[in-house]
Amino acid sequence: MFYYLALAAILFSIGLFGVLTRRNTIGILMSLELMFNAANINFVTFNKYIAAEALLGEMFAIFIIVVAAAEAAVGLAIVLLIYRNWNGIDTDNYNVMKW
């Protein structure tokens, strides 16, 4: 079980790294997907090792996938808006508001 969890942790960290460093907004979205997946791996692992009979983990994972899809849709719509407004989707564009 440890290895699955470790895998998830590393994947999560990779996603984290991506969110922190990607300059492209869509890149950030992708990294977010990685993080969601890491969580999914966790859920499924626990489902297998801790409480298999209730299938809660799998259930949770399914819902996460659905939610991630919804989130991606909305996120991409916003990305489109950004593209329209700035003609580019780099994070450098949108930092007018600060301090």
Partner: protein, 698 residues
Amino acid sequence: MTKYSFLICLIPALSFVMIVFFLRWKEKLSAGWSIASILISWVMSIIVLIETISRNGQPYEASYRFINLPGINIEIGILVDALTAIMLVVVTTVGACVEIYSVGYMRGDSLFSRFFAYLSLFLFSMLGLVLANNFFMIFIFWELVGLTSYLLIGFWFEKKSAANACKKAFITTRIGDLGFLVGLFLIAFYCGTFNYGDVFAKLSAGVMPLGVLTATAIFVFSGAVGKSAQFPLHVWLPDAMEGPTPVSALIHAATMVAAGVYLVARAMPMFIGTGNGAMVVAIIGLITSLLAATIALTQNDIKRVLAYSTVSQLGYMIMALGLYGYDTYHGSPSVGYFAGTFHLMNHAFFKGLLFLAAGSVIHGIGTNDIREMGGLYPKMKTTAITFMIASLSISGIFPFSGFWSKDEIVASTLHHPVFLILTLTIAFMTAFYMWRLCFMTFTGKPRDLDRFNHAHESPRVMTWPLAFLAFLAVVSGWVGMPWLHHGFSSFVYAGAHAPEHHAPSYALMIISLCVALSGIGLAYLMYYKKSISPEAIGQRFRLLYKLSFNKFYFDEIYQVAIINPIMSIARFMWSFDVVIIDGAVNGTAWLTILLSDIKQWFDVWIIDGAVNGSGWVVRQIGDGLRFIQTGVAQSYALTISALVVLFGLIKFELVYLTWSWPIMTIIFVMGVTALILVSRVVVTRQELNSDISKEDKV
């Protein structure tokens, strides 16, 4: 009548109220009302005196509770004994004379009514002071006479000197009052009452340790020092001559300044209880007397000479009282008490007369400076004659009143050789400067013809009071002739610590008479005959002359040593308040916002320094925290994750890892530093980028 003696002081009060609220606009009515009321008081005073004499000076007392406080008896009441009765008569007599005189002197003044109102108020306060039966009440009236003195000195307030003088008088006397107040606290604390009789009874029962008693006595005496212009608080009295001359006569010669002497006399049982305290009193009196007499030798302002003379004479009385206290403490009461009070009465008459006459001179010639006078005798005979009578009296020439009382004062110093010699010296100086004044004013050639030609005798309303007072200046001393067994002497003692009645000492009389005559003689030679040149003597004793002429530089010393420091402390405190205390507050609350200006920023940073630092730090925290707000979503995510990690690390370490706390701290600090650095880099980058993009758009 004694029962209603409180009316003596209330009648002038009523007159004050009437004038202020109703009669202000009618000058004659005001003056008339005021004079009528003081005359009523005068008559009543005389009746009271007679009644008291017929009671053999036994005190009459009546009072009511002023306020109910546990453990302390504060009351308002009257006490009529010999001293009171005498003082009542003295005050009302001089008061009446001065009021009548003022009708002439103040004629045409735009504030004529107000003057009488103030005089009435003063008389109320002074009579109240005299009538008081306890220390609390005497203090109240003590302050009130100070107030009226303030108002009257500053009566011609458009004059800057008058405005200054009144303030100086008030504040200087208040410094003395401060001590008085502390004395009162001590009395209250140890005795629980202010009533004279009760206090003295308790004191003699020994409720106060000797040291405390001495301190109390000196504190109380400091009130007298202020009021009676004793060294070192004598500086206000000469300046107080800026007031109208009748005021000087009434307040600053006859009555109010004598209140200090009255207080010492009144509190005599307290001084009797403490020899050292009494000695202090005597020494202060002596110093004052000597000092003032010395200064009086060289002054050229007629009123100032008289003022210093007053100071000197008051010092005399106080010295006598002090010596009485000292001697009595040591078991051999002298005649000091009698001498002091006796001289107080005589002095009131002749000094009042001197001032009024001087006022008449000033009124006639229009100046105070004796160097501009001279040869006035023919022009103003009444004035001149009365002035000279008074001068004879103060010099102590037989049989004028001053002779009798001064003689008793000299007698009271008999056991103290130093005092004796200096007393005689002062007597000599007194005679000298008084007659210097007489000769320079009334004899010789007029020095200022212009003024001389305009000089004229004063109207009758002014000269009659002079004449009346002159009469008193001659005869008032007779009541205390040493040959009288039941005269003034036995009356004032009224049984308390009376000295052995002893035969009159003729030798002493003759000595003091000789001293006085030699003083007059010297003045005669110097200023009438001009056979001795004053300048030459002035040259010979130049240092002394300069010291005397400049009043021993007291004003200057006080200015440098006290007033300037207080003012600078006050200003410093103010800046302290504004810069430091307020600065701290402001800093902390960010109320100094205009920091965008770098220069100002530096001012605040450097001047307010550490104190404002607190505020600065808070502001910087705000700015620093604001700075993290880079506007880049990823930086926010970074902050989140970095802090998640850091929280995790800290908690983690708590249980398991062998890393020690220092390492954790270092990591933490490093992480935070890195975070801030990075965000700064990001910020600058973003800043540049946005600038560039803006340019692009343009």
